[in-house]
Symmetry: C2
């Protein structure tokens, strides 16, 4: 009998992995993944970058680097984030192996088994599984179309139980909910949390993929607002703006949190891939990042609008959703009691997949929602696939 650690014994394989393998089948239309389309990667830019590397740069790419990141990338990324209005100089930047590692490190830094943490419902499954792996006790705060439900947050904070170790949230183009937090909600969060010694983990990986430039002011992160009296740990990623295969993300955190995170990272994988860091640095430094995000932004907008149109045309009236203004996802609300797992089974028979609601529920129960993603599917395929989803919904819900 293998004697695993306590929390690990309880870890169970998730439904989503099986779906991902299904989604890889060429005959299935997949609205399930959160990966960029293969055809959208900036391969020519990468070629140019690779050809431009000096022998010395190639050596750096093959060698260990500092745990916190390659100095060149730390510099170029700092400029990139400063341009977005982030208080880089007052904080420390740590390059991580994808933003999931940044979230995992922060969870390890703060969570002892049984510690309460606050999360959104629904929430990013990667973060939920990282928190669960440290045996955090998840308290879910419902998400509304404008952000966290402030009354529910207040109730949770006033509950009199042990103080949560942090609040994890994603303000822009939420995965899976597709929403943007309003300025008003962010201000209320700041007011409620100021001085409470509950750090925020603010996950902002989709904000470059907006459909409407006018939205930029309201997408300002709490980290950029830089409120007094709250430790904000911002996490970000190259996965959606360059390529997830590089496995590069970052955290921007206050100095007194940074030190512990760097030590944890040192014991996890010593440093993030140097090869990827050399490429990412050149991608920023050359300005290619701006050209590229400008291009994919338009493509994702095309796909998002095609999906909105198809959903409006085909969905039964009892399904509602918030129209996305960027990012990768649309979150369909079905009537109370609807079971998206049953719907998924019917959808698979028709040749289309999505992700069930309960996957994103911190309690793993609430299942009357569906996440459909448009990031990895061309508009014409979206137009063929959405009617099949609608049929599956009607077959189960009437």
């Amino acid at each position: 009998m293998t004697r695993f650690a306590t929390g690990v014994s309880a870890l169970r394989s998730s439904e989503i992995r099986d779906l991902m393998s299904l989604a890889a089948s060429p005959d299935i239309i997949s609205f399930s993944g959160g990966m960029p389309g293969n055809e959208l990667f900036p391969l020519e830019m990468i070629d140019q970058i690779y050809q431009s590397l000096s022998e010395k740069e190639k050596q750096v790419a093959m060698q260990y680097g500092p745990t916190n990141g390659q100095p060149a990338l730390l510099e170029s990324l700092a400029h990139y984030l400063e341009k977005k209005g982030l208080p880089v100089g007052k904080n420390r930047l740590l390059i991580t192996t994808g933003s999931l590692q940044a979230i995992n490190i922060l969870a390890k830094a703060f969570v002892d088994p049984g510690d309460p943490v606050l999360v959104e419902s629904p929430s990013f499954i990667g973060a939920l599984s990282a928190f669960r792996s440290y045996e955090a006790n998840l308290t879910a705060i419902p998400l509304r179309s404008d952000g966290l439900d402030i009354a529910a947050l207040k109730t949770a904070l006033d509950s009199g139980g042990p103080k949560p170790k942090f609040l994890y949230f994603a303000p822009n183009f939420h995965n899976p909910a597709g929403i943007i937090y309003t300025e008003a909600v962010k201000r209320q969060m700041i007011e409620l949390l100021s001085g409470l010694d509950i750090p925020l983990i603010e996950d902002d990986v989709y904000s470059d993929l907006y459909f409407h430039e006018d939205d930029l002011p309201k997408m300002r992160t709490i980290k950029a607002i830089d409120p007094e009296g709250i430790d904000v740990c911002l996490t970000g990623s190259f996965s959606k703006i360059l390529g997830p295969g590089l496995r590069l993300g970052w955290m921007l955190v206050p100095e007194h949190i940074y030190g512990k995170c760097e030590l944890i990272k040192q014991s996890m994988d010593a440093c993030s891939p140097s090869f990827s860091q050399v490429i990412a640095d050149k991608f920023i430094r050359s300005g290619a990042i701006y050209t590229y995000t400008g291009q994919v932004r338009l493509e994702y907008k095309k796909r998002g609008l095609a999906m909105i149109e198809a959903l409006e045309k085909h969905l039964p009236g009892y399904v509602s959703f918030e129209k996305p203004r960027g990012g990768f996802y649309i979150w369909l609300h079905l009537p109370e009691g609807a079971d998206s797992t049953l719907i998924l089974k019917k959808a698979i028979e028709r040749g289309v997949v999505f992700v069930t609601g309960k996957t994103f529920d911190p309690a793993g129960v609430k299942n009357n929602c569906i996440r459909v993603s448009y990031c990895n599917t061309a508009p014409d395929v979206i137009r063929r696939g959405i009617p099949l989803v609608a049929e599956a919904i009607r077959e189960i819900c009437g």
Copy 2:
């Protein structure tokens, strides 16, 4: 007051990081690092591999991959390991972000705070810090020139305390001790541990870098011996046979351990860098790995022999060491009570650095040893640097 998790509050920065930055100074001769020489990386082979990639392969390189690794690399690596006599078919292979991540994942799978684990003294600092980060209670078994001190292992196993969660050891070209475990010691370990339900973590990252082909039979890992009644978790790495900047390692473990490890990896960084995996796969598949390891093996042998010769010529008679037969390191034993930190200070004044003994002591105390590495220094520089180390030793120890 930031409320960190229990174990994390105790994490402290290590001496080695400051040394690493010192070692980067061009005026200092460094015997401190464990990285391959920059000039030894197979840059031309990497160029050829990159040029040969199809558009589809480049897309794979930029995309998320399966958590356990790219199918192509899993296949080519399996062949590579089978050729070394490892029982790949009876186990599962998991690609990790460096072998340190493999060790970290295994630690997370097995260790609850306070759990005892058995380690060598001296031992690899990366593993020690991973174990400490999960609040393992380290029990050190002394290392002799032929491997673990079997009598001490027996005493530890018979102590009557709670059963250790695993035994971590490195059988070939040990870091820092530079030794090879003998067949006899491995057989005695197997005999002692069989049926005890104490898994082995067998760390084998240097075994391709032997000086003498005759040594190959005695370097057979316990994983390759494949004993009944012991779960052996083998960890390995591309860092020393291709380049650490790719951040690629692996674990080869029994199925019933694999599942938990894959789930932990999924919550840590989702998957290892695809870009690196595409390159590593081609590096194996093309046979370049055999050409390259053949070349660097000769170069490291040249460096190792130069260092042995210089040490024999210059060291005072009271310093002893085991001559390395491969790998990167030589471990100098100084008289009882000698303080290698004082020696290091004198050495730095003379323009040379190494790593102090206590860095590798699980208790962080025993300091009458010195690790000098020859991997990253050309023979003529070794011949200039070793006399300076000898002078510093004489100045402190007489």
